[in-house]
């Protein structure tokens, strides 16, 4: 039990430090997840199995995952800038942290004093034996003595969810085209009935950023994804095509006349 405590305690403190000192938001989230899992193990090792499991399911599983979802959209390469954007927030956070520190130190010293008087914390064992376990004990409290607070909290959460949905909701300007409509649209137009032309395949390039060539040697613009064209990252093959074409013409001059006609 002591070994579990030391391993998990060190890991969770390390996770906390890692979370604070990471430059990237995703790293911070991962360190925090490490801390939470270790806290859960600590809970389980101190006979609070239900609390430990719920810690993993709710915080590590749901909250952190949603957090990661948001962060991931940011991309691998981005990191936070360290420039202070809110004026005076450094001073304010130092003040808040020292206040918290005072609070924690007071609480721990109080706890130590109580422990010194009464070495055995009787609470847990008695709570477990009275109700027949963690789950039953918590259920009795939540749905018994604190049922009103519990229901009020749930009403608050549901209101929050509805509010978020109302705020995030927007009506579509026009109906989203369905699968049937899209395929009909595609087939009815002879230019796209067989699909758009695929990107080009050449000796040196065969990626999606390489355009296909039309029979007359010009570039087929619609063989490239629109996003690549807009960003200007599409591969320019015109020069290479011109070089190849010149070489071909030099080898076989009759082709030039064919091209003319």
């Amino acid at each position: 039990m002591t070994a579990v405590f030391w391993i998990c305690a060190l890991l969770s403190v390390a996770g906390a430090f890692g979370m604070v000192f990471s430059r990237k938001a995703v790293h911070s989230a991962l360190w925090l997840a490490l801390t939470m899992v270790n806290l859960a193990v600590l809970y389980v090792s101190q006979q609070a199995e239900f609390l430990g499991i719920v810690q993993v399911v709710v915080y590590t599983g749901a909250v952190m995952m949603l957090f990661l979802f948001v962060l991931m959209i940011v991309g691998v390469d981005s990191s936070d800038s360290l420039v202070e954007t809110i004026r005076g927030h450094r001073g304010a956070s130092i003040a808040a942290v020292s206040a918290l520190l005072v609070l924690v130190v007071t609480m721990v010293s109080q706890g130590m004093q109580t422990m010194a008087i009464n070495r055995d914390p009787v609470g847990l064992a008695r709570a477990n034996s009275d109700e027949g376990g963690n789950v039953q004990g918590i259920a009795k409290l939540l749905f018994g003595r604190y049922v009103f607070a519990f229901e009020v909290t749930s009403a608050l959460l549901i209101t929050a969810v509805l509010g978020a949905m109302v705020l995030a909701h927007r009506d579509r300007i026009r109906a989203l085209p369905g699968q049937e409509e899209l395929s009909r649209q595609r087939l009815m137009n002879p230019a796209t009935a067989a699909g758009l032309p695929a990107p080009g395949v050449y000796a040196r390039h065969n990626a999606v950023d390489t355009p296909a060539l039309l029979p007359d040697g010009s570039v087929a613009e619609n063989s490239l994804p629109g996003a690549l064209q807009l960003r200007g990252v599409a591969h320019d093959v015109r020069e290479e095509v011109a070089v190849t074409r010149a070489a071909e013409l030099a080898a076989d001059p009759t082709q030039a006349q064919e091209d003319e006609s």
Binding site: V44, I53, L68, V76, M188, N189
Partner: protein, 422 residues
């Protein structure tokens, strides 16, 4: 609720579970290839070993010896960590799965189960939710669009279906009066929960396919859209770990279904009349058979059903599975309360409620189908009318018509163009 095993016995159990899971994975891959082949009128791998049994072992060795590629731009530490996070929890789940009753190993009496505690079914859910991290991180750290989209899709899917899955557990908890796997099995001595709680089982069976990212819910790996999904950029041993995790997860959800609804290692009815069927090592055989039935259904589904569309799949999870499981839960809780307080027998009530619920779901499915069919017929009739009108009043060919969606006008335009060329 530990079993007071000596340390060496715990080690033996851990090793046995690990070996069992790896063997099950190898066997399931082989079985999947053979069975799907049979369903598609092919033969499947039959060269390596008897009936091709060693094929997946050989494939595994080959996979491990391949070049390990880390793409440039990938986040290296997380890229390596992701498959480990994905595989570890898959194995961890099996710590609470009971394989059989008390047996004696080298003179020690111990249940065929590594450990158990009062909330062990919740432990399975918790560990599974940690496993999702592996997939999300794999998608993010690869620095590839396909991987990121596959990872996000996969985790959104697993989180959504985990809710339905958790709700289907609640009915079992209510009836077993416990969340520990061994006690749930004990409570199924008389009647398996699949009979008593059929809707819960149906919801679990559907959501377990979604949870493991298997066909027809294998959207994260939809080849036509996402290449390989979250593992697009993975190769060699790291890819093998993802592969292993997927198959171990399949075995895990099958074992959970067996534990919660099919009486775990208990012998099925005609066999349970035999005295020795539920003692000693024999029940392990029943457990294995039940798990194999589930694995076969997984394979069967893959051979039968096409992949669902992502929005349909999410709609199904959130708008059908979760509401219906909440309604069912309400019924179960009422029945349970009635039984606790008035000591009346509520089995008939439960079964009839289950039948009514299934009928309602069936009727609404039929109505929905009818509705879709009617709108489709209306749309087809409208199109026909429009085409008819166009034939009566031909529209003069112009460049704008070529881009429009009227087939007749295009034909006219193409013909006109040919005349001009001539």
């Amino acid at each position: 609720m530990t079993f007071n095993d000596p340390f060496w016995l715990i080690l033996v159990k851990v090793l046995a579970i690990f070996v069992l899971l790896v063997l099950m994975t190898l066997f399931t891959i082989w079985a999947e290839r053979r069975i799907v082949s049979r369903m598609q009128h092919r033969i499947g791998p039959n060269r390596t070993g008897p009936q091709g049994l060693l094929q997946s072992l050989m494939d595994g060795i080959k996979l491990a010896l391949k070049e390990d590629i880390t793409p440039t731009g990938a986040h290296k530490a997380v890229f390596i960590l992701a498959p480990i996070i994905s595989t570890g929890p898959a194995f961890l789940t099996f710590a609470v799965i009971p394989f059989g009753p008390e047996v004696s190993i080298f003179g020690h009496k111990t249940p065929l189960q590594l450990t158990d505690f009062p909330v062990s079914v919740l432990y399975v859910l918790a560990v599974a939710s940690v496993g999702i991290y592996g997939i999300v991180l794999a998608g993010w750290s690869s620095n590839s669009t396909y991987s990121l989209l596959g990872g996000l899709r996969s985790s959104a899917q697993m989180i959504s279906y985990e809710i339905a899955m958790g709700l289907s557990f609640v009915a079992v908890f209510l009836y077993a009066g416990s969340m520990s796997t061994s006690q749930i099995i004990e409570k199924q001595t008389g009647m398996w929960f699949i009979l008593l709680l059929l809707p819960s089982f149906a919801i679990y069976a559907i959501s377990m396919v979604g949870e493991t990212n298997r066909a027809p819910f294998d959207l994260p790996e939809a080849e036509g859209e996402l290449v390989g999904g979250f593992h697009t950029e993975y190769s060699s041993l790291k890819f093998a770990l993802f592969f292993l995790a997927e198959y171990v997860n399949m075995v895990t959800v099958s074992a959970m279904a067996t534990t919660l609804f099919l009486g775990g290692w208990r012998a099925p009815w005609p066999l349970s009349t035999w005295e020795g069927a539920n003692t000693g090592w024999v029940p392990f055989v029943w457990w294995l058979c039940k798990v194999f039935v589930f694995l076969f259904v997984f394979i069967w589904l893959r051979g039968t059903l096409p992949r669902m569309r992502y929005d349909q799949f999410m709609k199904f999870g959130w708008k059908v599975l979760i509401p219906s499981s909440i309604v069912w839960l309400l019924i179960v809780a009422t029945a349970r309360a009635l039984r606790n307080n008035t000591s009346m027998d509520t089995r008939g009530l439960l079964v009839s409620a289950a039948v009514i619920l299934l009928v309602i779901v069936g009727i609404s499915a039929v109505v929905e189908r009818q509705r879709i069919a009617t709108t489709e017929r209306a749309a087809a009739a409208k199109l026909e009318r429009e085409q008819h009108a166009r034939q009566l009043y031909p529209v003069p060919a112009s460049a704008a018509d070529v881009a429009s969606e009227a087939p007749q006008a295009q034909v006219v335009a193409v013909e006109a163009g040919e005349e001009r060329n001539a």
